[in-house]
Structures are given as C-alpha cells and as structure tokens.
C-alpha cells in the first residue's frame, strides 16, 4: 500500500546510508563530546539600544556561548549592561517571527514563502505607484540603519518620504544644535570638575562607558548635580538631587543664564569672539531672575544662584550636559529648552575645552556608490511637510514627522507604508490613532519580533534576522561621550540565521527584483564596507577580527574652529548663533524666551504623566525578553511612582492599584508612593504596556505613557511633546 504521507521533509544527501563513524546516537554521549567542542570568538554590535556597544560573542557548537564587552569600544569599554546580556540570549526566544507572514484576517496570519511575499508586495507596490505616484509611499524606521537601502527604493519609485522615529526622542536637540552650532558637542565627563545633568539619566539610559567616566570624575572630586522631577538612577550617585516641576526646565535655564550674565560670570572673551546675537538674547530675557524662576520651577532662587555660580566657578571644566531623549521631545518648550542648553554652555566658555564640551574625534570614511543608480524621478513635496514651505518648514526633513502618517493614511494620501525596525503603535503616541496606519492599501513591517505595529497593522511581515545573524556596514563609535581618537566598529555575522529570516539588504533585493529595480541593489555589505574603509590603512579582515579599531594616528583638535582667524562653525555667522534665523523667518522667536508648558495639572487628583528608562529596558524593544522581564518582576518594575504626600491626600499607598485616566485612555496600575518624585507628576517606566498577543512575555504587562498621550506636533522641531499630558489618578477597587 502507498504511504499516506506525501509531505516527508527529510531529504537524503549524497552521504546517506553510510553513517559517520563519529556518530553519537546516545544523547548523553553527544552532550559529553559537545562540551569539548572548540570555541570561536566573533564580533557584533549590541542591539539592546541605539548605542551599538561592541560585543565579542563566543560561539560553541554553532550557538552563542558567552558574551563579553569589547575593551576598545568607546561606548562600553569592556562592559555589557543588563539589556545587552538579555538581548544576547534572546536570539533563542521562540517569540521571534520565524518566516514571512501574510495577514488573512483580523489578528490572523498565514506563513508564506519569501517568493510569494516578494511577488505579492511587488505587484501591489507597482500598482500603487502607477495609480497614486511614488509620493504616496512612505518608509518609516527607527533610523538610520536602513536609510542607504531605503533611499534606493524610494528614489526608484519617486518618493521623498523617508521618516524616522526621532520625533519621539530628540528632534528639539538636533534641530537646535544644527541651527545654533552647526555641529554637536559632548560632555568631557572624565575631565570635568562640575557636571549639571537636567532630565538626563546616564544610569538609566545606560551608556556603560559614560557612567564609568562620570564615576571616575567623581572619584577625582568632581561635583555632580542632578535636576530631575524624579530621583533617577544617576541622582543616586550624584552629590545633589534637586527635584524640579516637570516642564519648567526652560525657566530654570533662563534663570541660570540670568545669574551668569547679571553677575558678570560669563566667559567674556568667548562671548565676544564666538557668540552672535548675545544682546538680542539678553534683551529678551532680562526679567528671568531666580526669584521669577522659583515660582515656576519649584527650585529655590538661592539654589539656582548657587548652581549658576558653581558652574561659572569651575568653567571651563564644567558643563550642562547636552542631554538626549530626556527633555528634547517632551514639551511645548523643548526647542527653547534645547536652545538654552547651548546658551548656558556658551556663556561658560566651555566649548572645545577639556572638561567642558568637546566634538567627537572623527575620521573620513569613503562613500559607497552602487554601480548603477536609479534615474532621477520628479518627486512632490514630502508628505509629512517636514522642511517644506508651510507649517513645518523648520522641521528637519532628515527626521520627519512620523505622527502625521496614520492621519494621512486615513485620508488616502499615504497608500503604502514600509515600517523597518520601528514600532510606532507602542512607541508613538496614542496607539488607537496609530492603528489608522492600516488604512493604507499596503503595510509592510520588517521586524525581528511580533511587535504591536506588525501584529495590528501589517499586511505582510518580513522578518529580519537577529542582529547576531547578520553583518552590517561599519559605523564610527562617536557620540554622547568624548574620546581623543576616532574609532570604527563593525557588526559581523556571529551565528548563521536560525530562522527563515533575512538581513535587510536581502529583503530589499527580493522586493527590488519584483518591481524591476534589481540592478540597483547589485552589491553586498562587504562591497559597502570596503568602500568605506578605503581611505584608511586597514583591511576588512582586520576590522572584522578586531571588531573595533582605534585610529591613534588621527589628530584631535579641541580648538574652536577658525578659518583665516575667523570663527568657522557651520552657521551663517560662523559663531554660536543665540538667535536662529530660520525660526524668525517662519514666525517664531529667534532667541529662546519663556514659554509655559502646554498643559498644567491644577486639581487635587491631577498630575503630569512623565516617563523614563529603567536600566534594564530600552523603551519597549526589550520588553518581550524573559530575562529582562524577570528583573522587572524582581523590582516591581511596572509600578507607577507617585509622590508620597499627594498619595496620602488621595488615600493611596504603595502596592495599591490606581485608576489612571487621561482624555483618551483609562488604565489600572499598581503604584509606588515615594518622596523621590516631585508632587506635580506621576512617573511610569517607558518599557511596558505590550498589546501584541504574540509577544507573550510583554503582553498585558504594565502600562505605557503613550496610551495617554494624544498625537501632537511641536511646531518648530516636530516632536510629539510626549509629556504634555495630564492624568487623573484615583484609588482603584482592587
């Protein structure tokens, strides 16, 4: 009789039938022999957050065996944080997307082959471009790892719409520094005598080597002051924690500047030679005294004076930390707050000074150019309006305004959306609003795991392989902390892809083939890498083996940039611009002035909802990691913090479940009542509130601030203003 099974998967190779002499049928014999297998050491860059720390991963029997920090890499100098350890093991998490998926119903998917996925997406994309032009196609990603490939695709179809997630992160900072400085500077923590961190938690959004540098400075006697509504992890190692009313950092900064100027503590030479429009700034802010700021910030005027004087006393070996996610996408006044960061540091004359602010050491890399590039196509204006004439002219086009896309999809303007390494449904404001993305005719998500955006909006899910399963072009290690020598690091393939997943370049090749753009992707990651290192005296093999190379032959010049003896920053005047021309030209103030936050809690049960990172999670991307979620459980990490006195007034105690309600959402969560938080706010960690049923570890755990935040756009930099939200809190019934 013929066997029923027609679907046998096992296929014999040429060697079938003659079993190898070393074959170990017994599992225990095999396991014993496997223990003696050789161990190989390979290099990757961690994907636990966007720092891309260098990791050596030891591989035994084709599996990850051990990980250790690369001792050279600037960001971690041999250390790995908790999230890095968690991410290393997560390669074996069964919750990953294992092969391409096609939506066949609400919350229903069917596994399909790559060939089918490419063919169907290619056909639909071609049809959309034919009917609605390439302008209706959007590529959204965390940024900017996929940009090289996305640009080719977008150029080919004629779309200008490359959009990043940065509106939820730091667009105020990058916008302001580009316009006022034309470059970025970073704190020289290790050599500083006085560091003021405002809304910046180095120990929460961990930069392992950043913390090492801060602690080394502390050992040498540096003073560390943390101004934050919450006694964050960094505050615990600081000399002083000063709670500030959230949303009022701008007033605090204006008063600091006031003291420095009024008491003539500024670096007169620096301001005279390198600052433009000082008078315009001062004339606009002469009334911003510490007494004025005290009423707004809740910080005593004397304390403001003390901080300003201490900063000036230690200048130029002192600084106001330039910050990152903390304050630069959260408030209506985030742009002015970011402007004031530059103003204060410039007044201190600490720029390009040891112990103050320094540029990154840089190297000149080669530029990879594919042999064939798509012919130029006429494109319309960006669909989100970023950088275009009109309402969002001052927003950086390179960042974009991702929170506009769901609305544009609903209105039929956006027809196709590609989402790469980005989860706006969970990390963008108002998930119900974000779900409107699915109104587009075609939504393709390229994730690692079953994130909310893939699960709730994607028509197709094309899984990228895990970061340890792929190679990527080299990157410099610059940013956030300073170092005298430039470095170049590379992510190499540590283990073979386990799942039926692909690196992004291969996904793009597959899509390109179906739309007739195959010839423009006729290159490899190695081709890109070789072109990039061409000006350097190294081989690709050298870089791969070392993982991270430091170039000690490249000079580092901490001098203010001059050309022919004149200031030569990349700004209109070559100087630090205290007034931004493009802001003025578009109807905004050129210099920072006091702008109150958009919303203010007024009632007994009202609070501003603020958020932050925990040291073992990176917003939501790590929250389906069982190892890291065990840490969450150990520390009751999902609890919302509330000020003890305010909690007492509402009859709320630690461990109670409370109801949290904004205009758009009502949720319940356990609380921690504590003196370590300003009374005006409640604080939640940003990691939780998973609502993808397939991400089992994260599903239904905790709440997320984005549940409560409406979709908003800060008009100058386009940020989401993620902390302009008032919630009412009351004791729950549980």
């Amino acid at each position: 009789m013929q066997k029923i099974s027609r679907r046998s998967f096992l296929k014999a190779t040429a060697a079938a039938g003659a079993a190898s002499a070393s074959l170990k049928f017994s599992f225990s014999d095999f396991a014993e022999a496997a223990e003696d297998a050789p161990v190989e050491k390979r290099h990757t860059l961690c994907n636990g957050c966007s720092n891309l720390c260098g990791l050596f991963v030891h591989v035994k029997n084709g599996r990850v065996w051990k990980a250790e920090g690369n001792p050279i890499h600037l960001k971690n100098r041999g250390k790995i944080c908790a999230r890095g350890h968690g991410m290393v093991a997560d390669i074996y998490n069964p919750d990953r997307v294992t092969q391409p998926m096609k939506r066949v119903g609400e919350d229903q998917f069917e596994p399909i082959s790559w060939e089918q996925a490419f063919a169907e997406i290619g056909e639909q994309l071609t049809d959309i471009v034919d009917r609605y032009t390439g302008d209706s196609v959007v590529w959204m990603e965390h940024g900017v790892r996929g940009k090289d490939y996305a640009d080719i695709l977008l150029d080919y179809i004629g779309s200008p719409n490359y959009i990043t997630h940065y509106a939820t992160c730091f667009t105020a900072k990058t916008n302001v520094w580009a316009n006022m400085m034309g470059t970025n500077l970073y704190g020289d923590h290790e050599n500083s005598d006085y560091m003021l961190f405002v809304g910046r938690n180095f120990a929460g959004g961990i930069l392992p080597n950043g913390m090492q540098k801060v602690l080394k400075a502390k050992e040498k006697g540096a003073k560390i002051v943390v101004v934050d509504p919450r006694c964050c992890e960094l505050a615990k190692v600081a000399d002083e924690w000063i709670p500030i009313r959230p949303g009022t950092d701008l007033a605090f900064y204006l008063a600091i500047a006031h003291v420095i100027i009024e008491e003539d503590l500024k670096d007169r030479k620096f301001v005279r030679e390198y600052v433009e429009n000082f008078d315009e700034f001062w004339n606009a802010n002469r009334n911003c005294t510490p007494e004025w700021a005290e009423g707004i910030t809740d910080i005593p005027a004397d304390k403001i004076r003390e901080i300003a004087r201490d900063l000036a006393k230690h200048a130029p070996r002192s600084f106001l930390e330039p910050g990152y996610h903390g304050l630069n996408a959260h408030y209506k006044n985030s742009v002015q707050q970011a402007q004031m960061n530059i103003v204060i540091n410039a007044l201190l004359g600490n720029m390009y000074q040891r112990g103050g602010l320094l540029p990154s050491a840089s190297i000149e890399l080669g530029q990879f150019e594919p042999e064939q590039q798509p012919p130029e196509k006429e494109m319309g204006p960006r669909i989100d309006g970023a950088g275009e004439d009109g309402k969002y002219a001052t927003v950086e086009a390179a960042r974009g305004i991702p929170q506009r896309i769901p609305q544009l999809a609903e209105e039929g303007e956006v027809r196709a959306i590609f989402v790469y390494h980005y989860n706006p449904l969970r990390t963008g404001p108002n998930p119900e609003y974000q779900k409107k993305m699915k109104e587009a005719d075609l939504v393709v998500s390229i994730p690692i795991d079953w994130n909310e955006t893939s699960y709730h909006t994607a028509d197709y899910i094309l899984p990228e392989c895990y970061f340890m399963e792929r190679a990527e072009p080299p990157v410099t290690t610059a940013g956030h902390v300073t170092h005298d020598y430039p470095q170049l690091a590379m992510r190499t393939e540590v283990v073979e892809p386990m799942e039926d997943t692909k690196p992004l370049i291969d996904i793009m090749k597959g899509l390109a083939k179906e739309i007739g753009a195959e010839e423009y992707f006729d290159f490899t990651v190695e081709d890109q890498a070789r072109a990039m290192i061409e000006p350097l005296d190294i081989s690709l093999e050298q870089l791969k083996e070392a993982g991270c190379l430091e170039f000690r032959n490249q000079s580092f010049d901490p001098e203010f940039p001059l050309s022919g003896g004149e200031p030569a920053l990349d700004t209109p005047s070559g100087k630090v611009e205290f007034s931004v021309g493009i802001y003025k030209a578009n109807g905004f103030s050129g210099v920072p002035r006091w702008i109150p936050p958009k919303v203010i809690p007024r009632e007994e049960d009202e609070f501003r909802l603020i958020h932050g990172k925990q040291p073992w999670h990176s917003h939501h991307i790590t929250s389906n990691n069982p190892y890291l979620m065990e840490i969450t459980e150990m520390y009751d990490g999902t609890r919302m913090w509330i000020n003890k006195e305010r909690a007492d007034q509402l009859g709320i105690e630690t461990g109670d479940t409370v109801v949290v309600e904004s205009e758009i959402a009502t949720k319940e969560i356990e609380v921690k009542a504590t003196e370590l938080l300003h009374p005006d706010c409640v604080w939640v960690p940003s990691a939780y509130g998973g609502f993808s049923e397939k991400a089992e570890t994260a599903y239904g755990v905790g709440i997320n601030y984005n549940d409560f935040v409406s979709e908003e756009i800060e008009p100058i930099a386009g940020s989401v203003m993620g902390q302009e939200v008032i919630v009412k809190v009351r004791k729950g019934e549980k």
Binding site: K3, I4, S5, R7, S8, F9, L10, K11, A12, T13, A14, A15, A16, G17, A18, A19, S20, L23, K24, F25, S26, F27, F30, A31, A34, E35, H58, K60, N61, G62, R63, V64, W65, K66, A67, H85, G86, V88, A89, Y92, N93, P94, D95, T98, Q99, M101, V104, D107, Q108, F109, E110, P111, P497, M498, D500, P626, Y627, E693, K694, E696
Partner: protein
Amino acid sequence: MVLTVQSDQLSDLFLIIADFYKYPDQEFYDQLISSKLLSELKEKMQKLELETSSINQDFDIPDFDQFKQEYSRCFIGLNEPSALPVESVYKVWTTDSQAQVNIANEKGYLMGDSALHIKHLMSGLGLEIPREYQQMPDHLTILLELLAYIIEHRQADEIKQFLDDHFDWLMDFKSRLVEIEALPLFLRITECLMDCIEQTKTIYKKL
C-alpha cells in the same frame, strides 16, 4: 527480532503522525475530513496491535481556513499563547556547565542541546534539515520523520536510545495543549503518539 514488515508498519505509522504537526495543505485537509487519514492511522496501529482508544471518536474539524488558523494558534503561536511542538522548549537549554549565557539553565528557548543532537544525527546519517526547520531541528515532525528513518535503517539499540532520549517531553507538551485549549484533534493525536511511543519502546525492549 522485529520483522521487516513490522518495521515498515511502524515507520509508516510515525510518518502519518508526523503529518499532523506540519502546516496543513489542502491535500492533507481533504484526507483528514474524508476520514481516510485517521482510518489509515488506526489500521496501521491495529496491525501492530497498538491501542487505538485515543482516536476512536469522531472529531469536529473546522473548515480549511479555520483549521489552518487553529494550527497556527497552537503550533506556531499566532494570536495567543501556544504549544510549540519543539523539544528544546521543554528542556533546560544546555547541560554544559561551562556555558555563560543567562538562559543556560532555563527552559523555553530554541536550539537547546536536543536540537544540536538532532543536527548531529541528521548530518551523521546524511540527511538534510529542511529550510523551514533550520531553527528548530527538534520540531516534533522532524523527530518523527527521523524516528521513521531510524526504525527502517538502524539497529534496535539505536532505536531504543533515540526513543528514550527525544520523546520524554511529550507529557509537558500535552499539558500545554490542554492549557491553551487546543483543537481536540491535536490533543488526541498527541495522546495517540504518546501511546505509540510507549508501545514501540516496549516492542524494542523485548528484543
């Protein structure tokens, strides 16, 4: 000595059961609803004098699309918590005391020691792991196909060893199926498989 004819029957039996753990196609589904598949399974079991009580009932089989969704829910894990039919997930990831990854002594992860052993056996026997199962070579459908191959081509002591080493997790798997309220067919087939494994062990232990 197990007769050649008996080996063939056993091998066929496990190949039929292996099919239930593969993503369903139309042909499989048609054979399922026509009762041909289950009749064939019972027939094989009866010829081998194996107990068939676990599948002696009519199953309520949903339409093809729904059946695929039920498969996905239970065995791939779409929509809700699943019962992955993968040995590694039910066992400690590695017994190697030198391992320095945080999941070394944890359950619930892919590519554990059992997966490495299956890769080793497949390679040593000259068999290829299909692309879809590269990440989980110890998926139940692969284990059963390999068992069928071993029964046909290898000696009794190796068959006994393989049965002992790689099917001791089925009780935990069955508990998970119960927990997630899997389609009754999947639960009964798994019970049937557990019976077949135990009875096959008995056959070979007598040798």
